[in-house]
Symmetry: C2
Subunit: 498 residues, 2 copies
């Protein structure tokens, strides 16, 4: 997320180490983002994704706003499925790259008694359980803390959530029971019991068949996995809030995650990052963006039902521009939370308040503060110079789309592209698909670097080249000045997995 308001920040970058709450705040950050965090240790130190394996020199190099080096996966590093990756820092809006990414192979298994109360543990090289592939892209704003923390933990929360329904995943052909045993799933039974005993309880766990007489919805396993992912985003958000009392966790972030489990690809998006599948050079969009414009009616509805959240400063009614005091009594175009079209209303005193949703396209803001309406963190974000919190209007719940990967045939040039808005702001879906398809078709199919090279190609196309008049694309249009992060994931990569 880039601030569209230019700031006077120097391009000079000083010492690299954690200073999330020192670096420059653009107007997204509001007044109170870091209140009370001074002196607290960081939850995770600043860095780039582990899989890049950057030396301190390279880490320093990656932050040069003047050259904006493209950092890509090293030759020799192999990510799951042969995934390609590239990133570049912004043109100066923040000292550090606020994007983060993760790519992991994990294993879903029953929560063991040992770890009953310590979730989020490492897999410790014990490769038993149901394999789970995870790709995450996090676009931070007003600090890098939330994005870093999410990139370290969200996939583990999802894995642990799936662990809770592991016994259902292991029987994919029987519909999940509506109701489980008293005091939770069979797995929370006494750890001393044997497997057979547990299995018996499993049957017992399903509620009395007599109640089946009544209407009972059949819920698919797929929608249970969706439920785990939705719940995990909420748990991640709650964890950030909880740990903010002990750690400095600055800002918020958009979160885009792709999860491959048992033949299906789940793409979960909260924010304005974007993922598309490119299959036979055709685009299949896997996300919708959540912005003040796309979520206008939801936000207006909340402001309408809970006007106290607007702090007497904002109106939930949308106007096409600010109203001047002298215009009282005139008629102006407006939209309320129920409308898609526009109508005229007579201007009254209350309409002089600032509109809850204001601005167009990338400049649209909630309460003049934030340009994205879903994501993690931002618990302390307030309207500048006020005590009005933005968080009640933000949602941490992703929209999850499912792609049945194993039921489709994929060639080596069929990929999932995941990117932060730095990519998509200047490059359309179609341009991305053309660039990737053209590039891959010319590339040696046996080159293990081909997907990273494709990611690099996309990155160059949206960052552009530094000219006298800023970062410019080949067509001389302005390139993206934002942080840019791109995954190119081969959909046939799964088959080549050992």
């Amino acid at each position: 997320m880039i601030s569209k308001v230019k700031n006077a920040m120097s391009n000079w970058v000083g010492g690299m180490m954690p200073h999330g709450h020192h670096h420059h705040h653009n107007h997204h950050s509001g007044g109170g983002q870091n209140c009370g965090q001074e002196g607290l240790p960081h939850r995770f130190p600043y860095g780039r994704p582990d899989f890049l394996d950057l030396t301190p020199e390279l880490l320093q190099y990656s932050t040069e706003h003047a050259s904006r080096p493209v950092i890509a996966l090293k030759r020799g590093t192999r990510l799951p499925w042969g995934t390609g990756y590239a990133e570049a820092i912004n043109a100066g809006k923040s000292m550090l790259n606020e994007d983060q990414a993760s790519c992991e192979k994990l294993f879903v298994r029953k929560p063991s008694s040992k770890h009953r109360n310590s979730t989020l543990v490492d897999d410790n090289g014990d490769n038993t359980g149901i394999p789970l592939h995870f790709w995450g892209v996090y676009d931070g704003h007003a600090g890098s803390g939330a994005a870093i923390m999410a990139s370290k933990l969200l996939h583990r929360i999802i894995r642990d959530g799936l662990g809770e329904i592991c016994h259902l995943l292991e029987n994919p052909n029987s519909a999940p029971p509506i109701c489980l045993a008293k005091n939770g799933s069979p797995f929370q039974a006494d750890a001393k019991k044997g497997a057979a005993q547990e299995a018996a309880e499993d049957t017992d766990a399903v509620c009395d068949a007599s109640v089946r007489f009544y209407m009972e919805k059949v819920v698919s396993l797929e929608s249970l996995v969706m439920g785990v992912i939705e719940t995990a985003f909420k748990q991640m958000d709650d964890l950030i809030e909880k740990e903010k009392t002990s750690y400095a966790i600055s800002g918020g972030c958009c979160a885009l995650a792709a999860i491959y489990l048992m033949g299906k690809l789940y793409v979960a998006n909260a924010g304005d990052s974007r993922a598309i599948i490119i299959r036979n050079s055709e685009v299949i969009p896997m996300t919708n963006e959540f912005t003040p414009e796309s979520e206008r009616q939801r936000l207006q509805y909340l402001g309408f039902l809970r006007p106290e959240l607007l702090g007497n400063e904002f109106t939930h009614i949308e106007f096409p521009r600010r109203i001047q005091h002298s215009e009282l009594g005139k008629k102006m175009l407006y939209r309320d939370h129920t409308m898609t079209g526009w109508a005229y209303k007579t201007i009254v005193e209350d309409d002089l308040k600032f509109p809850l949703i204001y601005g167009e396209g990338k400049k649209a803001r909630v309460m003049a503060t934030i340009g994205v309406t879903r994501g993690l963190g931002d618990h302390d974000l307030k309207v500048y110079n006020s005590n009005i919190y933005i968080k009640p209007f933000l949602s941490c719940v992703p929209e999850v789309m499912v792609y049945n990967l194993d039921e489709n045939k994929h060639g080596p040039d069929d990929v999932l592209v995941m990117g932060t808005d730095g990519l998509w702001d200047v490059t359309t879906d179609k341009e991305v698909a053309e660039a990737v398809s053209t590039y891959l078709s010319r590339c040696d199919p046996s080159d293990p670097m081909r997907y990273t090279l494709a990611a690099q190609e996309l990155l160059m196309r949206s960052r552009g080249v530094l000219k006298e008049r800023g970062w410019r694309l080949p067509n001389d249009k302005l390139g993206s000045g934002d942080d840019i992060t791109v995954f190119v994931i081969p959909l046939a990569g799964h088959e080549s997995e050992t």
Copy 2:
């Protein structure tokens, strides 16, 4: 809307005259639908659409539940564009046909000083102004009053709303001004002023150009027309509420309207009626249905933010079935207002309340009462045997879709089909398209009855034929026992209009 609960009502129909509050109530009607209406006169008498021109004998005949006669447009009656129409009464769920329909050609003009305070007047044969074509389909429930009233007035409210922006419609190439003169549009200026003077004020009306320096959204004329239509539905609903103090206006209704204005077709839908365009035998859906399932999250969100509306009887959380008291402490699948997938939660006391949304498909209900979530009327509708009102959960605002009619070429077999759910419950879009395309292709292209015959064909296909085991379709499946109403509107009909 048909009740899925069979009632013991006799098929015998007595005297025909207005007795909206006498006829049998199915469980949609709740306890208090007609409270306080006893003794009030009807706003409009019961009848079938004027254009059918039924004699008293035919009106009586149209209510025979045993034979369910197909009532179609008479040979010799020509509706605008040569529109075809057919209808049939239900199989016995209510004494009268609760569907209504209207088809009108109107003219949009400035509100004249004469009618300043009396809207809803007739056109009086004065064919000046911008022509407006209107088709409306109204599916009543729990009484026929709201549907009848809407079928008489909604198109006039829309016409009058468009009249207010008539000066903008007359200049379709200039963007509508954001702000109009103090005290309303120029048309509300003193009636004694001449046209030239009014035009001068019109220019004056646009606000000071200096404010344009700030962000200002450009609003299209099309979205202004959408705003008029959305507002008109709200005005219609408010009028029903207001006039209920003086008249008996029973029940509520779904409303589906098609408006042709200045080259564009606007299709506005509030409820579970449905409209599709059939072009080159291909289906273009022009509506989405609004039901407890499709609007689940909106309703749950309201219940979550305003729990007092649930009257301590309902929970906003969705469960796949009722929970029994003995299941307290067990874990059950659930969805809250943010979720699309399902997850398990431990059952607490509060979860024993009845779910706000309950049931599947056509049996899904809001607060166990109503199976449709948008429409007009229903102001007095309560949960059976309680004081809990349903209306706060219902929306009267339509979704409006726009089809650029004049920018597409249409042959004589390209049509817009509008129908109440009686049609669509048993016949898919594709089946309707095939039936219409096949029928019209075999039909004499010069027969003025061809679209009415096509409507009749669709009607027969969804009503079926009475056999020993009820109304049956040719494939022996159950036909629709609901009221059925169908318009078949030729899209090239506009060109043949004189």
